[in-house]
Amino acid sequence: MNRYARIEKSLMHPKYVWELPVRFYHWINALVVVILGVTGYIIGNPPGITTATEASFGYWFGTVRFIHFVAAYVFFFNFVFRLYWGFVGNKFAKWKNFIPYTKAHWVDMWEVIKVDIFQVKCDKNPNLGHNALASFTYFLTFIVFILQTVTGFGIYAAMSPSWFPQLFAWIPSVFGGDIATRQLHHILMWFFALFAIVHVYLVFYHDYIEKNGVTSSMIGGWKFQDKDKVEREKD
């Protein structure tokens, strides 16, 4: 009897939610966002190093920036891939999940807020893919991804002659010049930091409350549902 068959026998109902590409996307993204956040923070607030080295022997700040730019490319193309997967992936990956254009989505969001924030008891079956609030948050996240990318490449356009950043050369004038664009880019970093804290906590939290395997789902792809609740819903 394999593992899943055993699980099948249990009271929890396993379901394959996250396809491999989504999982790959997620972990690449998580990694580069951390790298971008850390290097970005250093670029914004470089530590004071008062050694007696001559400038020509040092390049650490240049290296930090280089890492930031490399990570930026990875981040961007990884994200583009995810957008693509939003059209061809399974139903959990579909872009429709993210944009709250139906009433039901908003109702669900309210449910999640009740459970997560106000700690009201929930009778409804939790969503299988992202819960409604989470997916809305991801939707906002994607918008910030886009903003961060365009502001980043916008200011990068002045530093790189290659054609790709040049596509973004017009961006700073939209935000009122390079100064303002760069400040926006800096401020948005904090969105990522806050998102990461809340996101990781909530993932563990839902796992704990719902025991649905959400934490490991981003590794293995499987989530679990309470069979009782599934039955109850059917009635």
Binding site: F61, T181, H186, L194, Y208
Partner: protein, 366 residues
């Protein structure tokens, strides 16, 4: 008028230059403009044919530092520009006549050279209260600019005032100070930002127009690429210190004495497009960073309102004094952490309660 205007060659010969000297002048300008020497013949030819172009230089909401900068030009020398290259027919700062006679100079040029003069504007245009915040001869400045732009061949917006509104348009912009390109439509406009622009950049723009009889290549903000396509940071001689992470930590500290990078003192060089690092100021003597002060971004739109000159981030509105995005972000981060911890505790209590109530018996999965 009727009389044919003199070409540069004639003017130069009158001035006592020989044709050979004239070729040399052409070569100097060509070198100055960064062209290959094969262009020399062409440049010289263009100047031979062009008459002294009439210029109308209007003054709106400004501090006249752009005029002051202009007269600092060392190549070409401003006396040579005024006597031999252009005909500066109207500028309140230097012209001999006042009042009616001054207005006559303005109108003569507008009429006699309709379609052929260059309009240059120093200062912004106040638009609030129907423009009463700047009047000359009883007319609003907006009105005067409109009228003068009508017959202009091209318009140059001198300095940050005319090209992006500069200091008087800083929050709350009490007079509705507006840059030229938002008022004048349908004319080629060249923005030459900077507070003020470098003298040789101003002269360079004029020389370009005269020599090539065409507008220099502009970027999307209508700035001549020749002078505004590079950030100060890209041509800053302190750049190796930046890359090596060697920064001035406070004014006049050991690092300042060594000429380290001024990034942490709020330097806006990385976000400012200007030629200060290469052309430098006052015939190459120095530029702000070389003299120990961070760049304040004086050629950038809105540089007054993007936070302080000694900070890299603006104050965050609504979060008290001296709070920038980092402080607010860190605060929110800590608050979130605390919230998360509290939430976790509550969750645990609740879960224990559920277990105690038997509502949530521990199910054996395996």
């Amino acid at each position: 008028m009727g009389k044919r205007r003199k070409t540069y060659l004639e003017a130069a010969m009158d001035k006592g230059y020989s044709r050979r000297d004239f070729m040399k002048l052409g070569a100097m300008m060509t070198a100055f403009m960064g062209l290959e020497s094969s262009m020399v013949a062409k440049v010289t030819k263009a100047m031979e044919k062009a008459p002294r172009i009439p210029i109308i230089w209007l003054h709106g909401q400004e501090c006249t530092c752009c005029s002051e900068s202009f007269i600092r030009s060392s190549h070409p020398l401003v006396a040579d520009i005024l006597l031999d290259l252009v005909s500066l027919d109207y500028t309140e700062t230097l012209m001999a006549p006042s009042g009616y006679q001054a207005e006559k100079s303005l109108h003569d040029t507008m009429k006699n050279y309709h379609g052929n003069y260059l309009l240059t504007v120093e200062g912004s245009i106040p638009t609030k209260e129907q423009g009463v915040y700047c009047c000359i001869g009883g007319k609003t400045f907006e009105n005067i600019v409109q009228e003068a732009a009508d017959g202009a061949k091209a318009v140059i917006a001198w300095g940050s005032c005319a090209s992006n509104g500069c200091v008087q348009s800083a929050n709350p912009n009490p007079t509705g100070a507006t840059p030229i390109h938002e008022i004048i439509k349908g004319k080629p406009i060249i923005n030459v930002p900077g507070c003020p622009p470098i003298a040789e950049v101003m002269a360079g723009v004029v020389v370009h127009l005269l020599t090539f009889d065409r507008i220099p290549e502009l970027d999307r903000l209508r700035r001549p690429k020749a002078f505004y396509s590079r950030r100060v940071h890209d041509t800053c001689y302190r750049r190796p210190n930046f890359d090596a992470g060697l920064f001035v930590e406070s004014f006049d500290d050991e690092n300042a004495k060594k000429g380290y990078c001024l990034y942490k003192m709020g330097c806006k060089g990385p976000v400012t497009y200007n030629a200060c690092g290469v052309i430098k100021w006052n015939n190459g003597v120095s530029f702000p960073i070389q003299s120990g002060h961070p760049c304040i971004g004086c050629s950038e739109e809105n540089f007054w309102d993007n936070g302080g000159f000694y900070k890299r981030l603006p104050n965050f509105p609504g979060f008290g004094i001296e709070s920038n995005a980092d402080k607010v972000g860190l605060g929110l981060g800590i608050a979130t952490g605390v919230g998360v911890a509290a939430h976790a505790v509550v969750t645990n209590i609740r879960k224990r309660k559920l277990i105690a109530d038997g509502e949530c018996e521990q199910k054996d999965v395996e």
